[in-house]
Symmetry: C2
Subunit: 265 residues, 2 copies
């Protein structure tokens, strides 16, 4: 349903007003997806209900095949670049925005119970950087991880920037949040996952590790790393590096570990 | 040699004025390093001549051990936050900047001739994104790659942001620029490197690859990838991914490949 918008103050596009400020304030039960690649991923994920789109004129045609997937009652607002930028509050070069509803997050136990017998899960502890969380979701999607579990300190994978950096991976891989890091690990243990913790001080070298049928990979923030009490409960694994430069980005680390753990699958 | 600066217009700190604008305009034979980690890496690299430092007051003490490595004739300018921000043109939270001279880049053939008999080199073709180039240098340093070769389209590893993202890796791994992608590959072949090209359409799976004594890993930009004429001359290697989400960041890809190629070293 195409709806042309010519007035930036039109109340129908309220959800797109001042996007950056809303990013910070939060959107309760909604999130924003931007750009063509992410929109195409979103349209293929039935668990997200799309409320509306806002497209720059000229984008409607290039997206026509994707828009055919959209239920006919969902409004597709269109505006010229000037009006779109005025609504959004900054130049929105990609000219493609969508607002969708967040599904409620299941309890960790329920998500784990829904996974296949052979499963690979990623657990994120204290990861407050949206680029890193987005990058990890991109890798989790690329290597077919079955789920991502977050502790309370890990940031929102559906934050606009995280979704963008994930190239839609945050919409592909199921995730939920545990009440605490401790509860997260307990749930994994109860669901018969072998918990593997990546740490520079890990006892075993990644390249020597054979994954169990159910494996969970725990990642902590660069710098502080994983708390000692979690390391004590896990199989600790390190990635050996060249002398004097012991530093990998945590998203890159997730890619290296997921590649290794899935290459024999 | 500590020199207190109280006037933002002081001509002695000319090199630090309007840092972002200078980033874009270029600095001819100089580059800027920022932050404590990068500065500490820079101080350990004898091939870079440091011209001066600009530190926020209060940083001098925390860096005193590192500053002991600095030749005594190199000026260490200090300023309060307000003056420093006025000089630089934006709030410089880390409070640590250095200006150093760029060494001239050797011909590719000379750099390759200087490497050990067993060597691993990374070749970058058309990588115009400073985050990606910085991330690749971080990984190259972490896994002990011996050199990085750039084509003409690949961006400058000593651009301020690239150095920062590399966490100093751009100062650790020797690099140089070839006159063209073709000349880059020719020089590798002439120096008896097996040229391996990462590509989604690669003939061999990365996890099955055993590196040659001299291996060069070619990486192209996400999207266009490596040009067909280079792929035709190389051993092509792919990283298998989960169905429907065939997308890895190129810096993450470099980490995965370098980890695999060095794990048996």
């Amino acid at each position: 349903m195409l709806v042309a918008i010519s007035d930036p103050d039109d109340s129908r596009i309220e959800a797109y007003r001042a996007v950056r400020e809303r990013d910070l304030a939060g959107r309760q039960h909604r999130f924003v997806a931007e750009g063509e690649v992410v929109l195409r991923v979103l349209l293929r994920q039935p668990r997200f209900e799309i409320e509306s789109l806002l497209l720059a004129e000229g984008r409607v045609e290039t997206l026509s095949d994707a828009l055919a997937l959209l239920p006919s009652n969902v409004p597709v607002y269109t505006a010229n670049r000037q009006v779109m930028d005025a609504i959004v509050g900054f130049p929105i070069h990609r000219g493609i925005l969508a607002v969708a509803r967040r599904p409620s997050l299941p309890p960790v136990e329920a998500l784990l119970a829904s996974l296949p017998e052979k499963a690979l899960v990623v657990g994120l502890i204290g990861l407050a950087n949206h680029d890193n969380v987005g990058g990890i979701f991109r890798n989790a999607a690329a290597f077919g991880a079955d789920a991502v579990l977050l502790d309370q300190e890990t940031c929102d994978p559906l934050y606009r920037k995280a979704v963008r950096v994930s190239v839609g991976g945050a919409l592909v891989v199921p995730f939920t949040r545990a009440p605490s890091a401790d509860a997260l690990v307990q749930a994994l243990e109860a669901a018969s996952f072998e918990v593997m913790a990546l740490s520079p001080s890990g006892m075993q070298v990644l390249s020597q590790v054979r994954p169990a049928r159910r494996t969970a990979l725990l990642l902590g923030a660069e710098g502080p790393g994983l708390p000692p009490e979690l390391l004590a409960r896990a199989r600790t694994v390190s990635i050996p590096m060249a002398g004097g430069f012991d530093s990998l980005n945590v998203a890159t680390t997730s890619g290296i570990a997921l590649h290794h753990l899935t290459q024999g699958r």
